[in-house]
Point group: C2
Chain length 555, copies 2
């Protein structure tokens, strides 16, 4: 997708500039950083550089014209690409008005729709870069992640971990005669943490001068956001509306989703969880620790289908060992109410009678707010974006779950930062290929980044695979955490690290090192030669790196 | 320190080579990789490259001479440097003998003296590179680290952590009515872990064909190691003899050291720990958790004097809050037996009456085994080494505590690998400046790498310092671990990360990422722009990186 060249803001007080001379002509290929036209302001004259390379497809403004700062003067792209007609586009009329008028017509530089981890982070970064920003949110700031996802489950996870440890402390020299578990306090603690973090976000928004608009946004034009009847004009819009729980099971009954299950007043005796993905596994592990009988029903042949197979297998064994029933390769034929609970009939005829049913079958994009806008969608209904998160309307960006790239809070945040910097930073950020880690907090902790062994095979990449077990790591043994392993996938030809998959204690803290190594394009040897403190869990990572290179030491 | 140029082994079967022509002359400056002489073997003729740069100070072997592989043919160094006389050096006679004789005269390519984390790792790496290796050890393999240091304390640390959690679980929804703690089981568990890891090392040595020689080594010549009357000849020796507890307190009484305190049959009611360094703080935290009344006596004005001041202060506050008495800036005037315990009189007149006294005032190098060898020592008694860990006798290396560079197990291992690769790898390793992390496992976990803020000031390096609190990290709050912070020191001019100091949950797992970033010479911005999974503790590191660069998001 092409990019506009706009009149640069060359000084604090510059509002417009005169195009003195074009240094390139239409059809010419220009490189990033090439001088492409001479600008004259009231103070100075300078050459403006191209911020992107490509073919100069269109020059909108002639020599001698005076153009407001940030208005498009040319369009750069690849041959055959459609050239936007800025004269007739609503979105550019705004930018083409004189600066005085602009102030009046435009309430904000940016309106972000949705205050989840994508939206609020994008707003923060944009404000840090000097933009006037508003965020529209119909619910609580923090989005699914803070209110109905990552944070609540992690709060529960810690209670689950400690409650498990109560029953596994004899080997550590501790004897517990009597202990009890109180769900209402777990719930209360979770609410306290969520409130505290939400207040943190609200404070950050306020401190950064970001306006909060509460209500339902409706977007029909690329420069206008309506919220409960009031209209706000803006230069840019970021769609960060997220996703909502999908319903895949044909039933008349009202099943639990993650929106509701995290706030249940009391724990059920038993639960059937439909879906063995990340959410299903995390909920199963937590509830199992709290004494709930859990059955997972997964349509595919294994749990965590997107993750490394050995990692998923290792978790599966641990879940089953701890009493979770995991049924794979089967789906629900019918779910009906039955007494205090449900009757779930599976395709294979098996019947289970859980007190509660949780549907965790994935999420679908939340596009209601901008149905009338006409941004291009993928066949699955996600907003299509380019590498800087721009939609088919160049001043409208879409970040996070709604663009379907990843369903991960931190990916949304990273996209929000990228979009903000693309809109407002002096130097446009490179649209690099990011290494996006993913974590699962279940019976064992999982963290991974990059490709799996299976993916490498499918893509025909020759790889060297190395695995190092936690059971050979001194710190893991000292912690009583000898379960799990670190697996490194490196390119057989150059040694480059392509994927790292960790299952075991502290995985989510260790993956950062792997991401850093991959981001720096370190070879497995170079990463393994970094000195790792002893005794630490990170030595397992070191050994796995070396194993994919010149050879592990302790194996 | 200069370096020999030796006859290279240019093929699997090559045993000697003829110097056809010198391509450089004495006094000439040569660069690493420059061709310096032409070699002719029975198979081929080639140019030999310099593996180090410098001035070609001496040519030992004339054109036309045939020289065994690995024998010195020239010496490269800096002007004015002493040129070793290889003709008269015992150590080179070995290498100058013809290959047939060599086999007979030389029992091993390498004898490593000491099987601690430096020695056994060095032996493993050397064996992996094809060397015939023996390790001499008078005690148990694993050294201080495994038997009387890192591992035992980490096993205790886990019991301590869990016992502390027993009394802090109400907020997590858990109520414990009655619990008891059993020291003998803690001891037993520790012994089990140490045994298991020791067996692991023994297995590794065996698997790699490394010979174990049990007994006291005596080294008088650079190619001979005597063990209990038996003599072994070798081409290289690595001194990995470690260090032993220092005694700094003038007293006639037998005080505990870390050699003895970790195996005590029962816990005392109270203990005075002399020394507030890493060992003192770790032991204080463990024993305090187990209910022992602890007093630390530190001569300097603060604990952990080598660490970042704010980090040490944060730990000090936490220790005091948990009931550890910490006396700084004072020393012991006298220690005498008194009833079941001791009477400790301090310089300021204060008296304490602990049941036990532990001296943790540092360690001194263990040089007894090679007193007669004549390697050069520093004024403090450490073996002087060059950047590849070679002593003043070029075929004798010294690694780990005995060379006084660091008193850290992983530094010893890294040095062992470096030495092994310098001796036996086809490509000599670069003597890079390694980033060496250090960890402390006390009331809070500490991990750091690189310089402190104070060091930067002393060295006049302009730095940008950034701190991010655990209390603003969602995962930390979810874990009930909101104490501590991450501090990043970056060069103000180029943004390069110079130091990272972490105190708080999981610090020892997080520091690996910081080391990786520093090793890759990432700027604070580049490190902070890496995508960090949410919610994880590593986000605190990310924010601190950004804070030392373009600005933290959540602050």
């Amino acid at each position: 997708m092409g990019d506009f060249i706009t009149m640069p803001k060359l000084g604090m007080t510059m509002t417009e500039g005169k195009i003195v001379k074009w240094l390139a002509c239409e059809g010419e290929r220009i490189g990033k950083g090439d001088s492409i036209f001479e600008v004259e302001t009231d103070k100075t004259s300078l050459e403006a550089d191209a911020l992107t390379g490509g073919v100069l497809l269109k020059i909108y403004r002639k020599e001698g014209e005076t153009v407001p700062v940030n208005s498009p003067v040319a369009f750069v792209g690849e041959e055959g690409e459609m050239i936007p007609d800025v004269g007739n586009e609503t979105v550019f009329q705004e930018e083409n008005t004189a600066p005085g008028q602009q102030k009046q017509a435009c309430d904000y530089d940016l309106i972000v729709v949705g205050a989840g981890p994508g939206g609020y982070v994008c707003a923060l970064r944009a404000a840090q870069l000097g933009a006037k920003v508003a965020v529209v949110e119909r619910d609580m700031p923090g989005g699914t992640c803070l209110n109905r996802g990552c944070i609540p489950t992690k709060a529960y996870y810690e209670s689950a971990r400690r409650w498990r440890e109560v029953w596994d402390c004899a080997q550590f020299g501790i004897e517990i005669q009597d202990a009890s578990f109180h769900w209402e306090r777990v719930l209360e603690r979770k609410n306290g943490i969520v409130d505290r973090l939400r207040i943190g976000i609200e404070t950050l928004l306020r401190k950064n001068g970001i306006e909060r608009i509460n209500g339902n946004a409706v977007i029909r034009k690329a420069d206008t956001v309506e919220v409960d009847g009031k209209t706000y004009r803006c230069r840019h819009i970021v769609l960060a509306t997220g996703a909502k729980a999908a319903h895949a099971v044909a039933t008349a009954e009202q099943l639990q989703t993650t929106d509701t299950v995290l706030d249940m007043g009391q724990l059920p005796d038993s639960i059937a969880i439909i879906g063995g993905g990340v959410i299903g596994c995390e909920m199963a592990s937590i509830l199992n620790a709290f004494g709930v009988r859990v059955t997972i029903i997964e349509a595919l042949l294994r749990i965590l289908p997107a993750m490394d197979e050995e990692v998923a297998d290792c978790l599966l064994k641990e879940m089953r060992k701890n009493g979770i029933e995991v049924l794979t390769g089967t789906t629900c034929k019918s779910i009906t109410k039955s007494g205090e609970g449900y009757r779930v009939v599976l395709e294979d005829g098996q019947e289970i009678m859980p007190e509660m049913v949780l549907e965790a079958v994935g999420r679908v994009p939340e596009c209601a707010a901008f149905e009338g806008l006409g941004v291009e969608l993928s066949p699955e209904g996600y907003v299509k974006t380019d590498e800087w998160m721009r939609t088919s309307i160049p001043t409208v960006y879409a970040i996070g779950d709604v663009n379907g790239r990843f369903q991960l809070a931190h990916a949304a945040s990273a996209q929000g930062i990228l979009a903000a910097e693309h809109m407002f930073a002096d130097q446009k950020p490179a649209a690099m290929e990011m290494v996006i880690p993913a974590c699962v907090f279940a019976e064992l902790e999982i963290a991974c980044a990059g490709i799996t062994e299976q993916e490498a095979k499918e893509k025909g990449i020759p790889v060297k695979v190395s695995k190092f077990p936690y059971s050979a790591n001194g710190k893991a043994l000292a912690m009583g955490a000898g379960k799990g392993f670190v697996k490194v996938i490196a390119d057989e030809r150059w040694g480059e690290i392509l994927g790292v998959h960790i299952i075991g204690e502290g995985a989510s803290s260790l993956i950062g090192e792997a991401v850093m190594a991959m981001r720096c394009e370190a070879t497995a040897d170079a990463a393994g030669e970094a000195v790792h403190a002893h005794p630490t869990l990170s030595e397992a990572l070191m050994e796995a790196f070396l194993g994919a290179g010149k050879g592990a030491l302790h194996q």
